[in-house]
């Protein structure tokens, strides 16, 4: 399948942080989840893709076009939602529609209204009176109303209650039913990603730790609970990270089936995305 977004060796250097040769790609009809601790470079990567900040080197192509040379063309087909709403407090959703309908040739007023209705966002109230959740829903409605092919969301679901989040995740799932649509979302609510993402890209300190299909991750990784004896016998390559407690060791392993075969009787549970992230980040201090 042709990729909607392709990032290759993206580099951006700051005094105290470097985004270091980040590469990944996003096929059509898929949701790619971006995970990583605060300051891992998720937002920086998204901003670089959008050319809000300028890359030092690397290549970004969207829909097969260069993200700087064909910037306007590309941006007509992207909807973006950040962690906050960047609309002026004195505007109402109606005002926003009259601005955006003049910006996007593909803007659909009816669609915008349908999303507002669905999210129960009032059309005539000014944003000053909106709650955080309402602003977020408005941002998502405005990002969808020009019928984009790619949605880029930066922490768009954080700070929302589970009911609203679920509603929004459902919208994303509907959105990618069309094979030409994709979603790139960063979130530290890993359970959300577990629910909807097809691929997971894990960023840590500005580097991509892995880029994997979510189902593979969940099927392969495991947490081995064992005593000192087994732990000592484990090969370095087998353990990604571990946690020591008074009852023994918890070890994140890359291939839980293999571990089960090699250590019959060992307790190996499936690992969640959150486990994987935590062990990777914390485990390196071993």
């Amino acid at each position: 399948m042709e990729s909607i977004l392709q990032v290759k060796d993206l580099v951006k250097q700051y005094r105290d942080f470097t985004l270091d040769h980040v590469s990944f790609s996003l096929p059509g009809g898929c949701i790619l989840g971006f995970i990583g601790e605060n300051g891992a470079g998720k937002t920086t990567t998204l901003k670089l893709i959008l050319n809000l900040i300028h890359k030092d080197s690397g290549e970004v192509t969207l829909f097969g076009m260069d993200h700087v040379k064909e910037e306007r063309h590309i941006k007509e087909q992207i909807g973006v939602v950040f962690d906050e709403s960047y609309f002026h407090d004195t505007l109402s959703p109606k005002d926003i529609a009259s601005v955006l309908s003049r910006v996007y040739p593909t803007w659909d007023d009816g669609l915008f209204d349908r999303y507002l209705n669905r999210f129960s966002v009032p059309k005539d109230k000014v944003l000053k009176e909106f709650s955080r959740g309402m602003k977020m829903k408005l941002s998502i409605a405005s990002a969808l109303a020009h019928k984009p092919k790619l949605l880029i969301l930066d922490e768009a679901t954080s700070g929302l209650d589970p009911v609203v989040r679920n509603e929004i995740l459902d919208v994303f799932m509907e959105f990618i039913q069309d094979e030409t649509h994709s979603v790139l979302l960063s979130s530290h609510i890993t359970s959300d990603l577990e629910r909807i993402a097809d691929y997971i890209v894990f960023l840590h300190k500005g580097k991509v730790v892995f880029e994997e299909p979510k189902d593979d991750l969940l099927a392969r990784y495991g947490i081995l609970r064992c005593g000192t004896e087994v732990f000592r016998r484990l090969d370095r390559s087998e353990k990604v990270g571990y946690r020591q407690s008074q009852f023994g060791y918890e070890v994140l392993v890359k291939d839980r089936a293999a571990i089960r075969r090699r250590y019959p009787g060992a307790v190996v549970d499936a690992a969640t995305i959150e486990d994987i992230m935590l062990f990777y980040v914390r485990g390196e201090q071993q």
Binding site: H88, D89, T90, L91, V99
Partner: protein, 208 residues
């Protein structure tokens, strides 16, 4: 780009209402005081300032970060801001002209040609002022940019005040000045063009 213009106008909506009241109050006060020149300058400048307020509003909302995810180029963002500023300055100029002509007509003072000339000059000065201030607003943001704005006004007036005795002798005759004044608008427009170019350069390098 039309969308960006609409956005600025919508954002200024409320502010504009306050400004209209403000301008009306000024007109009443200064009509009573008979100082037509002061009020003409005031109204034009107040309107020019209004466009500057769009920078503050945008910064408050962090608009640019979202604005630049839309299919508009950075140059277009700058261009639309310049257009909004020019639009308000023009409105200011027209309002003052109408006011001056009306004032002269009812009081039977002043000569329409003179009103026309002074509106022309005030408008040009406002455009010059915009050309100066806008690149600074782009470079330093509305907070520090505003400080600079005060300097733009204050420094020339102070200098003039301090050195008025020595300077006034150097001034050419009134006729020469009046003739030279015809060129002020072309000069102002050229300055605006240069200013636009500089602002585009500054904005292109910005990161959000």
């Amino acid at each position: 780009m039309k969308g960006l213009l609409v956005k600025d106008l919508l954002v200024l909506r409320k502010y504009a209402r306050t400004m209209v009241v403000f301008v009306l109050v000024y007109i009443v006060i200064f009509s009573m005081l008979d100082s037509v020149d002061v009020i003409s300058g005031m109204v034009t400048l107040v309107l020019a300032m209004m466009s500057v307020a769009t920078f503050s509003y945008d910064e408050l909302a962090k608009w640019d970060r979202f604005g630049l995810t839309m299919p508009v180029s950075r140059n277009q963002v700058v261009a639309s801001r310049y257009l909004v500023c020019l639009l308000f300055t023009l409105i200011g100029g027209v309002v003052t002209l109408v006011f001056r002509l009306g004032f002269g007509y009812f009081r039977n003072t002043g000569d329409p040609a003179e009103s026309l000339l002074s509106s022309y000059v005030i408008l040009s000065v406002a455009v010059l002022f915009l050309s100066l201030i806008l690149p600074f607003l782009y470079k330093f943001g509305p907070e520090r940019g505003r400080l600079f704005m005060i300097l733009v006004f204050l420094l020339p007036s102070m200098l003039l005040l301090f050195f008025k005795d020595s300077v006034f002798g150097l001034f050419p005759s009134e006729e020469t000045i009046e003739q030279a004044l015809i060129f002020i608008l072309p000069i102002a427009l050229a300055a605006l063009l240069l200013s636009f170019y500089i602002s585009c350069r500054i904005y292109a390098k910005k990161e959000f």
